[in-house]
């Protein structure tokens, strides 16, 4: 096998992941009702990918255990990718049944390891959007607007403070049903707060989508340091975080003040971030990494990502 396109995978996952991986390789999306038929119908499956989403147990319940057992007997590698927080007991109970476990939230690694997950590892989300060229933008700051009453109080306070800091800079809250990609392409700076998960240590997919769409990003999550999104200026000047994490009103106002008053600097930052995303954070990259965990050594076989 020489390219990702030749892979045949089974997927238990949500719409975003199905849509992102579908153009890249052979994907059989399984349902709890007829997974056995799908599994029997194809001559070969290179691995099973299960997305650890919060609502999946409602549909799958005991069927997932049967699927995992069947894949184990057939020698099909089983990969779990947890893509939300908090970590459900459902996944902790099952994580030891997989060959490898990944998560977009590094704060979950300890719990997964203690539950028997083999080599639990951070694997960030990615973007399926094409990298957008710079264009005139008429919205200063966008927040996608979802609010979850089940979030921890500390997270709610953090996000409230950040939104207060953004308020005087022309904060636009997305309306219900507003087209996400169109909105990101009109926005100069996105407050990349995950719409579902109130976890500081989670890497939000929105950050990568926003960058692909040409927006700068500030985020209440703390994740960018582990892959170094910083650049240092010439000696004597301070390091600049390209993807700054903010935790209060003052930090938010300061970052937005810089990003919104210096268009050239903002565009340079976005250009640099887009290069990083194109080189590292598309679903081709994620598929290639997941494939490596299943024993396949295939490069992410093109620069850039599938059209979004």
């Amino acid at each position: 096998m020489k390219s990702l396109g030749e892979l045949e995978i089974m997927l238990v996952g949500g719409k975003r992941l199905r849509g992102a991986l579908g153009p890249l390789c052979g994907v059989t999306a399984l349902s709890a009702i007829d997974w056995q038929r799908c599994m029997d119908a194809a001559p070969r499956h290179d691995f099973l990918l299960v997305e650890g989403r919060p609502d999946i147990e409602r549909g799958w319940a005991a069927e997932l255990d049967r699927l995992l057992a069947a894949c184990g007997e057939a020698g099909v590698p089983r990969l779990l990718w947890v893509t939300a927080a908090p970590l459900r007991p459902y996944w902790l109970d099952r994580c030891a049944s997989f060959e490898r476990v990944f998560t977009i939230d590094r704060g979950q690694l300890g719990a997964l390891g203690n539950a028997g997950a083999p080599m639990p590892t951070t694997l960030w989300p990615a973007t399926a959007f094409s990298i957008e060229a710079q264009r005139p933008r008429d919205i200063n700051v966008t927040w996608l607007g979802n609010w979850n009453p089940d979030w921890p109080p500390s997270w709610r306070r953090r996000l409230e403070a950040i939104l207060r800091g953004a308020h005087d800079h022309g904060l636009h809250k997305a309306a219900a049903g507003e087209n996400r990609s169109a909105l990101l392409r009109r926005t100069k700076v996105v407050v990349a707060a995950d719409e579902q998960s109130g976890s500081v240590t989670l890497a939000p997919p929105l950050a990568f989508d926003a960058i692909a769409c040409g927006a700068a990003v500030i985020t209440p999550h703390e994740f960018s340091n582990i892959h170094d999104f910083g650049v240092g200026a010439a000696q004597g000047e301070s390091r600049r975080d390209l993807l700054p994490s903010v935790s209060d009103e003052t930090e938010t106002a300061a970052e937005l003040g810089q990003l919104l008053t210096d268009d050239l600097m903002r565009e340079e930052i976005v250009e640099h971030l887009q290069r990083i995303v194109a080189n590292n954070h598309t679903y081709r990259h994620r598929l290639a990494t997941l494939a490596s965990a299943a024993g396949y050594r295939l490069v992410p076989d093109a620069v850039g990502s599938a059209p979004g």
Partner: protein, 268 residues
């Protein structure tokens, strides 16, 4: 038949603004012999050249010992550098311009690689060759840190490790490169990166390899624990995070046969 050349590049005594004292050289030679060299000998493939770069001003005694190692290990090739012969020129001298794929893997002279690491990297040659990439970095983020002073082993994960491999196409570049045949780009990139990017503050490593992913398409392979960084008095940056717990003492690094031999020597 596709031809692949694989260089493992180690800078042993290339001057980086410090004096090559006998004491420093003796310590580095000890680490090379105890850690790096055994892991190279244990490799599951023989299809590579281990390029050891030494400044021509390196102490004669140290060079004699290195030349002895070179005689004993067919894969090892020592090349000298100087003010008039850069590491790039030294690497260029052994690059085959007719190779379809050139792989350059970085390895520090006090670190180790898993027995199957080089073979695992070479597994990507076909996929890279058939891809549209002109260049690609392949990194294995999973590894270990070994605190030599306290004999403690830690698991580690680095998406921008110092053990990355650069894939290139020298035969494609040789006709068009103004400066000459295609060659590894690691060294000139490091040089230009040092100039352009400041060393980070106390918490940052500052090494340019942490920023390579900014500039090159990068693939992360999660198939194995691939490397071992030794932590000792001489490497200031390679400290173990105080919050990280060591592995139980009976655990050995998996896939590193030299580590068992090291343990055996200690008992003796």
């Amino acid at each position: 038949m596709r031809s692949v050349q694989h260089l493992v590049e180690t800078q042993f005594s290339v001057q980086m603004g410090k004096e090559l004292t006998r004491e420093w050289l003796a310590q580095r030679l000890k680490l090379l012999r105890e850690i790096t060299l055994p892991s190279i000998r244990a490799q599951s493939t023989e299809d590579f050249t281990w390029l050891l770069l030494c400044d021509q001003a390196t102490d004669t005694e140290a060079m004699e010992q290195l030349r002895e190692e070179e005689k004993a290990l067919p894969n090892l090739r020592i090349e000298l550098t100087s003010a008039d012969r850069s590491p790039l020129a030294a690497a260029r001298s052994i690059v085959r311009t007719d190779a379809d794929v050139l792989i350059t893997t970085r390895l520090d002279s006090d670190d180790a690689i898993a027995d199957s690491y080089l073979e695992a990297i070479q597994d990507y040659a076909d996929s890279f060759h058939d891809s549209p990439h002109e260049r690609l970095l392949v990194n294995f983020p999973q590894g270990y840190r070994l605190d030599l002073g306290r004999d403690l082993l830690y698991e580690d994960w680095m998406p921008n490790s110092s053990f990355h491999s650069l894939f290139e196409r020298p035969c494609r570049h040789s006709a068009r490169t103004v400066k000459g045949p295609g060659q590894t780009h690691l060294r000139p990139f490091y040089t230009s990166t040092y100039r352009r990017l400041a060393v980070l503050g106390p918490k940052g490593a500052g090494a340019p390899h942490v920023r390579l992913h900014h500039h090159y398409p990068t693939h992360q392979d999660e198939s194995m624990r691939a490397w071992l960084i030794s932590v000792h008095g001489g490497n200031w940056f390679n400290r173990v995070d105080e919050e990280t717990a060591p592995l139980p003492r009976e655990r050995k690094p998996e896939g590193f046969s030299f580590a068992s031999a090291l343990e055996g020597e200690k008992r003796e």
